[in-house]
Amino acid sequence: MTGLDDAQWALAALLHETLPALLPPARLAAILDADTDEDPASWRCLTETGVLDLAVPVAGGGAGEGVLTLAVAAEEAGYAAVPGGFLGHVLATLTVDPGGRRATVALGQVLPDARRLTGTVPFVPGGHAAELVVVATAAGLSVVDLRAGGALVEGAGGVDPTRRLGTLVLDGAAHEPLPGGPARVGWLVDAARVLLAADAHGGARRCLDLAVAHARDREQFGRPIAGFQAVRHQLADLATAIAPGRGLYRLAAGHLDSGADRAHTAAALAKAHLSEVFLTAARDCVRLHGALGYTWDGPVNPWVGRALFDHALHGTPATLRRIVADGLGWG
């Protein structure tokens, strides 16, 4: 259930090859200070490789893929620190065909069901660029057109300058309910957790690769710091924490795609663990870079913000572990 088919392998390899090259350190550093997290080059790549339409139904011109395929892409997006609205957009495509428009999800708050929606939803990713937003109401998922009045996304900021968060403000907004009822809300939150877990795993892998490359390059005391046993052991420990991680998010993704009950617990477990490993990896990577790692414009900063984002959005590890313990029936 955690294995990939040939097409998924090919997708991962393609993204691994193309995305990091489009996002060199100088480009990422510029995005941290830019007015927007939009990055035309990587977005074009995601469009042209079909990643943004992976989950769109075949009838709508998409590939009709599920959470697992998206998660494979999300891992590579995490590796490359893809900026902008990727996460929100692909999550939306799991439930609605956006018909070529930019979309996102606002799942941080379940709104009271009504003919017209009123309320605020915090922590909406990529909302400033979206035209459609999938919201959660007591009756289930619903689509709001951000161009139709009564709905707007305010602000774009937060802990991860590469993926800015806004607040959705609804004031009597019209909406179009989606099928599936309240259960579908929980399913989409679980999918969000799986994609965040995949992003975290990719980000942690990148932190390890950055730290290894720096250890080879940086010379102190007349030799690369990779030659010091303490550094080698720290890198080996980090590798040990990261290497086995992929299975957790892949299993959860597979359960979501097959509609298995275990999906909820598996998604919480995957995100709790992998986001925590990512935080450890980001901190270790900073330490191994010395003061360069502690510098805003330095090579590690984009992944520090992303690790905090993956940690806190849609449930911190502490919250998710309670869900797991309950789900496993531990009273």
């Binding site: 922590f123 802990v159 102190q220 005391f221 790692g293 502690y294 414009d297 911190t316």
Partner: protein
């Protein structure tokens, strides 16, 4: 005087001359420090003629005084780079003329200092630094790049290491200098830290001039060791940990939207008590050290122990912040501490370098 009598006297002094509301008023703070120095409560280790109170030799008394001052938030000796690091170095190595010129205005805060040690290619391996100082008839001309220099944008002066013996590549060819920041040969480019704030800078020295060589030419490494010793005990300072822990406890005690507090969570309580032990132990270790009851090993462990505390506080704070993390460091101040704990693990000798020092000098292990 015994502890309790001293304590009572300090309390009476504070009650008469200090009110905590004044702590943000720089003029009042300066006036209070001058008065406290006159009474012998501050800068006992600095001779009277250099602006101190010249009552040395009583570390235990100094601790009692520091505790009483902290209890009413009275300003004690500033723990920044200038007073805690440069002044002891000048007392140990400076010429009479240098002490007279630089110590008194540093104690009052008129002169402020930054530390120009690290360079792009010389961090942990400080001894390999490349900035050169060249003697000409009128003094020294200094050329090179210093980096990650804390407080360089505000400092009036820099103390630095530069290579005076051109045919050396190691610590043996270095000398220790003081220089004025406000001169054409000094270019400061602020660098932001992970918190987003410009705490340090790159300082280009393009023929910067000075006449102030401290200690003998070629003995800069030895001179700088006394600065570093003071820096390490400063970073590991117990008062800092106590303040940090108190703030963490307040965070844990803040009611959440559902009315409960994190303090009621057994896991959080457990970690808090574990941290309390670490902080308490560091405080008491300071006393052991002052009373000469600690040996060589304990002081060498202070910086790494402080780093461990800062990192564990960070981890617990992150848990307590829950989704407030998403607001980022501009709106969630605790994230500064979380990020800052990484700076602590790197600045003033990384944790690996501390481990090397403990192993070699503390445990006497062969390399």
């Amino acid at each position: 005087m015994d502890d309790e009598a001293l304590r009572a006297r300090v309390r009476a002094f504070l009650a008469a001359h200090w009110s905590a509301e004044d702590r943000h008023d720089p003029v009042a703070v300066r006036r209070f420090r001058a008065l406290a120095t006159e009474h012998g409560y501050l800068f006992g280790w600095v001779p009277r003629e250099l602006g101190g109170s010249g009552t040395p030799g009583q570390p235990l008394a100094a601790r009692v005084i520091a505790e009483e001052f902290a209890a009413v938030r009275a300003p004690g000796e500033p723990d920044g780079m200038s007073v805690a690091m440069l002044v002891p170095t000048l007392l140990e190595w400076g010429s009479d003329e240098q002490r007279r010129r630089f110590v008194p205005p540093t104690l009052t805060g008129e002169l402020t200092w930054c530390q120009g040690y690290s360079e792009p290619t010389a961090g942990s391996d400080l001894g390999s630094l490349r900035t050169t100082a060249h003697a000409d008839g009128a003094g020294w001309e200094i050329t090179g790049t210093k980096i990650w220099t804390s407080g360089a944008t505000e400092a009036s002066h820099m103390f630095l290491l530069a290579r005076t013996e051109p045919d050396t590549t190691d610590r043996s060819g270095l000398s220790y200098f003081l220089l004025t920041m406000a001169q054409p040969g000094v270019l400061v480019r602020p660098l932001r830290q992970l918190t987003g704030q410009a705490g340090f800078a790159e300082v280009t020295l393009a023929g910067a001039r000075t006449t102030e060589l401290v200690g003998e030419r070629g003995r800069g490494w030895e001179v700088s060791r006394s600065t570093l010793r003071h820096e390490r005990s400063m970073v590991g300072g117990p008062a800092r940990h106590e303040r940090l822990f108190a703030a963490l406890l307040r965070l844990a005690s803040t009611p959440r939207p559902d009315g409960t507090t994190a303090l009621a969570d057994p896991l959080v309580r457990d970690e808090l008590v574990g941290l309390h032990a670490l902080v308490e132990q560091q405080r008491l270790a300071g006393r052991l050290r002052d009373s000469g009851d600690s040996g060589n090993l304990l002081p060498l462990t202070a910086k790494l122990a402080g780093t461990v505390i800062a990192e564990r506080v960070s981890a617990l704070a992150l848990r307590l912040l829950d989704t407030d993390v998403l607001h980022g460091p501009d709106r969630t101040r605790w994230l500064h501490q979380w990020l800052g704990s990484l700076g602590i693990a790197i600045a003033a000798g990384t944790s690996n370098v501390q481990r090397d020092i403990i192993a070699a000098r503390g445990l006497g292990l062969p390399s």
